[in-house]
Symmetry: C2
Subunit: 379 residues, 2 copies
C-alpha cells in the first residue's frame, strides 16, 4: 500500500508512493483542503491542471451541510463533488473540539451543539467512521480528542487516553471498500505522552499515522518539537501525515523531519486577502508597489494565473473586489504548494534535497501577516 | 463594416456580421458585462469556451480604478485584462448620471463627485473619448445624458439637446486605430424626442446606433415602447444596440423588434444570489426542492457547470457560501444567454425565427425576483 522509494542521506526526508483504490499518490504530497466539498474558489479542472493528487473533505462540516443523506444518495463524496482522484476525510474530532459548543464528553464520543444552528448532535468513533464510510473517502481519519495548546498536563493526559480508546473503536468499525484508516497521535508538547500515544496506535495497526494537536495556535518551535517528539515512534514503512500544516518553509522543514503528507488552508485563505506565496516569501498583491507592475506574480510560474495575468491586473481586481482576483491568487498559491512538493520529490529522488532545503530556507522570508493567519487557521 | 445577411420575413429580426479590427461579431449578439475589467466571477478561458464574441468595459469605472495611466501603461484594456476579442466600452454617461453625485452639468460635460471617495471629477464628450482611445476599445460609445425614467418633459428635452450636442463633439474627437463609435439615442418615452434625437445622430454618421434610456427602472412595456419608437429612425445598414437589456424573453422580443446587440448584468448578477436561467424561466438553485436533485441545472446544456455538477451540489455550495457555487451559476447563465443568441441566429438564418419566438415565449415563465433584480441593474 505504501512504498518507501528513497530516504535522504542527510535528513529524514522520504520519497514514497501511496496506493489507494482511486489512484497512486506520490509523497511528500500537499493535499488542498475542501472542507465543505470544495477547495475554496477553485474548480476540479483547475485542481487537476495544477497536479493535485488528493484533496481533503471534512466529516463534521459535510455531515452538517449538506448532510449524510444527500451525499449517500449522490453515491459518495467523489460523485457529489465530481472529483476523480483520492479524497482524505478528516474525522471531525478537531472541529468538535474547536468549533462546536461541547455539552458533554462521554465514553464513546462527544455531545455538542452545532456551531451553525445550535442543534444537539453526537459524534464519536462509531459515528465518525460511519459517516466517512458513507462519504466513501479513500483515507479516513480516526476520531480523536484534540485539546488546545494551552491545555494542562492533566487535560493532555485525558485527551491521550480518549484518543487511544477512540482509535481502537474506530479500528473495529466497518470501512468503505478499499478505504484506508489513519491513526492520529496526540500528546501536545509532552514527550512521554507522544511516545505512549504513538506506540499504542502503532500496536493497533493503522494504514498510516498522523501527528495531530499541531497547528492549534502554538508558536512554530512547538510545532517542530511535537513533530520531532512523535516521528521516531511512527512505523517507517507507513505514510506520516502532519495535520493542518503549514507555510512553504514549514513544509520543507517537516519533510526534512520525515513527514510525507500535509494539508493546510493557508494557500486559499490568504489568497482571499490578496497574499500570494512565492519562492521568496509571501507578498501582498494589493500593495501600491504593484500598481503598474506588469510582471506575473512569479516570473517562472506556469500556473493559470501567472501565464495571462499581471500583478497590476490582479491588484486591480482585488482592490475592486472582483472574484477573479481572489480566484487567481488561490490558483497561484495552490499551484505554488503543489509545485514545491513536486520539486521536493525530484530533489529527494536526485539525492540533492539537503541543498534544496538550504537554498529554499535562505531565500524564503516569512511574513508576520501569513504566520498570524496560520495561527487562526482551522484544520 | 456591418453586413446585413438576412432579415426575418415575419418580424424585424436581422442576421448580421459586424467586422472590427479585432475580429468579426455575428449578430444578434449578447455581450457579457465586464464593468471593471472582469466579467464577474468568470475568467477569459471560460468566456472563450462559451463562445463569447465581445465583452463590455466601462469608462467611468475603469477611469476611477485602476485609472487611465495604468491601462495606458499596460498597452490598453485588452492587454491589461488578457482578452483577445473585441471590447465595447460604455462612455460613462450612464454612470455619471446614476452613480456619481453631480455637482454641475456644464456645456461640455459634467462636474461630479466620485461615488467611491467623493473626489471632484469632470467627464464630458472630449474626456470620455480620450479615455476610450486609451482603453483602445473596438467600439466606443458617445458620452450621453441619460435621465431617469421619472424625468419631466422639460428634463427629457434638455437631455436630448445635450445628448445631440455631446454626440457631435464625440464625433469630432480622435479615435484609437480601427475604433468604431456608436451614437446613443435618448428621449425617454417621447415619440417626437426619440425621432428628433435619432435623426440628428444619424446625420452625424456614426458606425452604429444604441438605444439608451432603457433599463432605467421603467416597466417592461415602456422598454418595448422606447425601442419601437426609436428603431424606425435608425439606419437599416448599421448595427443597433439596446443598452442594458434584458431577460432572456426580452432579448427574443428585442431581436424581433430589429435590435442586434445587447448587454446585461443579469446573468452574473442573479447568479450570485443562486438564480439560474433556463429555457423555461429562472429557478432558484437554493430551493429545498433541489436538495437531492442530481440532475444538472439544465439537462440539455453543455456548459462547464452543467456537465459535471448537479443542482444538489450547486445548492450546497450556495448554501455554505462556497465561491464555486456562484461561479458555476454565473457560467451557466452566461452560456445560456450566449446559446440563446446563437440559436436565434440559426433560426433567423433558417427562416424559422417566428416559430422559435412563439415557442420560447410560450415556455418561458418570467419570475418576479428576476424582474425586480433587473429594475435595479445598472448598465
Amino acid at each position: 500500500m505504501f512504498e518507501l522509494l528513497k530516504t535522504d542521506p542527510h535528513s529524514k526526508a522520504r520519497l514514497g508512493r501511496l496506493t489507494t483504490s482511486r489512484g497512486v499518490i506520490d509523497t511528500p504530497v500537499f493535499m488542498p483542503v475542501g472542507t465543505q466539498g470544495s477547495v475554496k474558489a477553485l474548480d476540479p479542472r483547475e485542481l487537476l491542471e495544477m497536479g493535485t493528487q488528493i484533496i481533503l473533505g471534512n466529516t463534521y462540516h459535510l455531515s452538517l451541510r449538506p448532510g449524510r443523506d444527500v451525499i449517500r444518495a449522490a453515491g459518495g463524496l467523489h460523485a457529489f463533488i465530481n472529483w476523480p482522484h483520492p479524497i482524505l476525510t478528516d474525522s471531525g474530532g478537531f472541529q468538535v473540539f474547536s468549533l462546536a459548543r461541547i455539552r458533554k464528553i462521554q465514553a464513546h464520543g462527544v455531545e455538542f451543539r452545532s456551531h451553525l444552528d445550535g442543534s444537539l448532535l453526537f459524534l464519536g468513533p462509531k459515528e465518525a467512521m460511519a459517516i466517512q464510510r458513507e462519504l466513501r473517502s479513500d483515507i479516513a481519519m480516526v476520531f480523536d480528542d484534540c485539546p488546545p495548546h494551552t491545555s494542562t498536563s492533566r487535560e493532555l493526559r485525558a485527551a491521550v487516553e480518549r484518543t487511544k480508546r477512540w482509535a481502537s473503536e474506530c479500528r473495529d468499525q466497518p470501512r468503505a471498500t478499499g478505504q484506508l484508516v489513519f491513526g492520529i497521535v496526540q500528546g501536545g508538547p509532552d514527550t512521554a505522552l507522544r511516545e505512549e500515544c504513538a506506540k499504542a496506535l502503532k500496536s493497533m495497526g493503522f494504514d498510516g499515522y498522523a501527528i495531530g494537536g499541531v497547528s492549534v495556535g502554538e508558536p512554530e518551535p512547538e510545532i517542530f518539537k511535537a513533530v520531532e517528539l512523535t516521528e521516531p515512534f511512527l512505523p517507517a514503512h507507513l505514510p506520516r501525515y502532519a495535520m493542518g500544516l503549514g507555510t512553504p518553509a514549514q513544509l520543507v522543514e517537516l519533510v526534512a523531519r520525515g513527514l510525507d503528507m500535509f494539508d493546510c488552508v493557508l494557500p486559499t485563505r490568504v489568497a482571499r486577502n490578496g497574499t500570494a506565496f512565492t519562492r521568496k516569501g509571501a507578498i501582498s498583491i494589493k500593495a501600491g508597489a504593484f500598481k503598474a507592475d506588469f510582471r506575473p506574480i512569479e516570473e517562472e510560474c506556469a500556473c493559470y494565473a501567472c501565464r495571462p495575468f499581471s500583478r497590476a491586473y490582479l491588484r486591480h481586481l482585488l482592490n475592486v473586489n472582483e472574484i477573479l482576483g481572489l480566484r487567481m491568487v488561490s490558483v497561484h498559491n495552490s499551484q505554488m504548494y503543489l509545485k514545491l512538493m513536486a520539486d521536493i520529490r525530484t530533489r529527494i529522488g536526485a539525492g540533492t534535497f539537503g541543498e534544496f532545503r538550504r537554498e529554499f530556507i535562505a531565500n524564503y522570508l516569512p511574513t508576520r501577516r501569513v504566520l498570524s493567519a496560520r495561527a487562526n487557521a482551522e484544520r
